[in-house]
């Protein structure tokens, strides 16, 4: 059981971290601000979600698990809203400039 939980933790954490690394590479490889945003906003939700699943499997008290849930809920609500506001501002600014 313990080995199974540890392997599951490692898998989730590696998936989340690999997403973050790919997004960081995409931040340099992609050519446009909104294209870079397309790369950058994925680890903000899915990467954090995977890392949080890994963390929840390793901590054992209820307060820590609650904190991880709070982190996930906050991130899932705020990350798309923040990204949307930023992309809207960039689009409005590009329209005004062009």
């Amino acid at each position: 059981m313990s080995l199974f939980v540890n392997v599951l933790t490692a898998v989730f954490v590696v998936v989340g971290v690999a997403l973050a690394l790919v997004a960081a590479i995409g931040l340099h490889r992609l050519g446009d601000t909104r294209a870079r945003m397309h790369a950058a906003t994925k680890p903000a939700t899915l990467g954090v979600l995977c890392c949080a699943t890994g963390a929840v499997l390793q901590v054992d008290d209820v307060s820590s698990i609650t904190k991880v849930v709070v982190v996930v809920v906050l991130q899932v609500i705020t990350a798309p809203v923040g990204a949307h506001m930023l992309s809207r501002a960039i689009t409005i600014d590009a329209d005004q400039a062009g």
Partner: protein, 86 residues
Amino acid sequence: MSAVLTVALAMLLVAAALAVWRAVRPGTLGDRAVALDMLTAIITCGLLVGAALTGDGLLLDLAVVLGLLGFLASVTVARFIERRGV
């Protein structure tokens, strides 16, 4: 498992370095805002991996605060770009 998590932290360090480089490199304000927004997500991931590694609940408090601050920062920069331009 702790070896895997340590390697994961090293990968996050590389990702954070790439994001910082993107923010420092010449670019528009939007580019920098996107890069710094991603940096907060990477640091949140790092705190969660650190909590998985040590079982320390204090790191999770930091992750909560960082999530709120990151949202506030990206909204502020978005309003700034919208009003004043890049």
